[in-house]
Symmetry: C2
Subunit: 347 residues, 2 copies
């Protein structure tokens, strides 16, 4: 057991685009579990656009990360010391262990990873990002067979799953993503009917061509001008699912909203936001469905795995520069007690 | 029977604020009903912000008024010549007869006014404006006892009814209106718990003071900065009912939308537009309820009645300069065959 724990602390409230100096890399004494706690060796960190919001000092759905605290992040680790009967040495657990090598946890805050699948899937396609797509699309978007569904951030961890679930519900699906490579993946691997490269194409014109009868469901991960373009093309009784607004996350004040908001009136349409944590009681249902689809080869998914805790800030930045292809992860260690499940045929 | 019919035609697509020269006052030959038609003497014209949208040459929920056509408007008239057995001489009928002295109509486009109430009520508190408040607030807003409801355009024909229906459902109701006189009417006559004068007060700060637990339902008639102020203060699971956006109706391009849109995500809130015409099959239910409340003295309402067809454009402008107090009407004639119902005790 090492004597010290490496941690990335939040050092400053970011102004605009988050930068490495907003964090500080420190060594602190190894924590020791008390009765009822376990010590977890962090193995993988998850990177999600919503983390940018946690860094702001304002009321939100979770308290802000405080200056001097380890940066908060979803993660998966292995129990290496246990003072709780429910969690055993070598167990793989999921929690919000943050940007650090080691963390203390207790049952409820450290949950077993579903067995028989690669650990990384539990942070992506059958994890919170997949669940976000599942509940957002189905509960709020309510897609019906034959309807047209548009997804932005479509090559991302959540968008790609949302679009494929729409396909599984017999919808026509158009994805919006940045760059030819992402767009090619959408149509060739993920089964989208069409893709729009917002960096090289005029989104509003392309939507008019590709969605001549209007957009019935728009699953929005980006906000900003693309949300406005989609609102211009909504069909009657459309549902706009507000999942995120990454285009505005690094602005010092929120950018102006869409000019086409009145189309919600003319088209009798609905725009609705949600937080996936509210669906916690139904996570089992969602994980079950996602796992079934993944195992049946019906959900293409990609992971972008960077390496080394020292690279946490740089990995986080990849989200906002659009460098990641699929779920952004950082591997920070091999499982010290071994037995990490691997992807295998049939799983 | 006169030989000529006076009409206000749409002469030009308005640029910015609508102006008298966008219309042309003409005399055309008296129309003569064919078999199955009736000739209606227009008595009252209704003025509604939505009419501004009908003047734009763009797809919407109704076709645009064409240049050279009489300006479209809800109205009430008396049948003065009938070639249809269902409509008799002297009947009072409601329809979209437009800015003219006389119009041809047929059953389905000329509907009997509910008996026993002043004609003007059928255009306001128990007419389309009241129904807009009724269905928008109850079907989309779904107010629950004890919740906080905020209404903008609160002294207007729709807003004032929406706020009072919320009070009848045991909500705390805050109205936003322009000017001390309108605000005083809201709290003294219409039973609102509080009123904010957006012309003299800082709306966002006042909302924070008056709605410390957040806004559960926001019934929006105005859009623009006031919508943004309300979004800043929504409570978890809030419902934003988009009824109209008068603040932007006279802009040559739609103004930018609200910066606080992401609050819909953080607060898991919903924003929804509607068109009252979709509720046509339920108009009977709505009229029945509204009439019951009016007769029981539970719905304060005001009418702003101007006079003379020649003043139609100037009357329309009152809506956009905020001059009207309550439902804006224009009386253009006395009923030629008499018997116009009057307000009386108990009705």
């Amino acid at each position: 057991m090492p004597e010290m724990n490496r941690q990335w602390l939040l050092a400053a409230r970011p102004q605009g685009l988050v930068k490495p100096s907003d964090f500080e890399f420190v060594e602190t004494p190894m924590p020791a579990p008390e009765d009822g706690q376990v010590l977890v060796r962090n193995l993988y960190l998850s990177f999600d656009p919503a983390m940018r919001g946690w860094m702001e000092d304002r009321p939100s759905y979770v308290p802000p990360v405080q200056i001097g605290e380890p940066m908060r992040a979803g993660s998966i680790g292995q129990v290496i010391e246990s003072r709780h009967p429910e969690l055993k040495l070598g167990d793989f657990v999921q929690g919000t262990f943050g940007w650090q090598d080691y963390a203390l946890a207790a049952p409820g805050l450290a949950n077993p990873v579903p067995p028989g699948i690669p650990l990384t899937w539990a942070m992506g396609v059958v994890g919170v990002t997949g669940l976000t797509a599942y509940f957002g699309l189905l509960d709020l978007g309510k897609p019906k067979p034959g309807e047209t569904v548009v997804v932005s951030g479509a090559a991302g961890a959540t968008g790609s799953v949302a679009g494929q679930i729409a396909k599984l519900h017999d919808c026509r699906v158009v994805g919006i993503a940045g760059g030819a490579e992402k767009c090619a993946w959408l149509t060739r691997e993920a089964g989208f009917d069409a893709a729009i490269d917002y960096k090289g194409e005029r989104v509003r014109e392309r939507l008019r061509e590709l969605c001549p009868n209007g957009i019935d469901v728009y699953f929005d991960n980006v906000g900003g001008p693309i949300l406005d373009d989609c609102l211009a093309q909504i069909a009657q009784n459309a549902r706009v699912v507000l999942c995120g607004g990454i285009s505005g996350y690094n602005e010092s004040e929120p950018p102006p909203g869409p000019r086409n908001l009145m189309n919600l009136v003319i088209q009798r349409a609905r725009m609705q936001g949600f937080i996936v944590l509210d669906y916690l009681p139904r996570f089992g249902e969602g994980v079950g469905k996602l796992l079934e689809w993944v195992r049946a080869g019906k959900l293409a998914h990609r992971e972008d795995i960077q390496h080394g805790l020292e690279n946490a800030p740089a990995t986080f930045l990849r989200l906002f520069t659009g460098k990641n292809l699929g779920k952004q992860l950082l591997k920070i260690a091999e499982a010290p007690l071994g037995n990490e499940p691997q992807a295998s045929e049939g799983s």
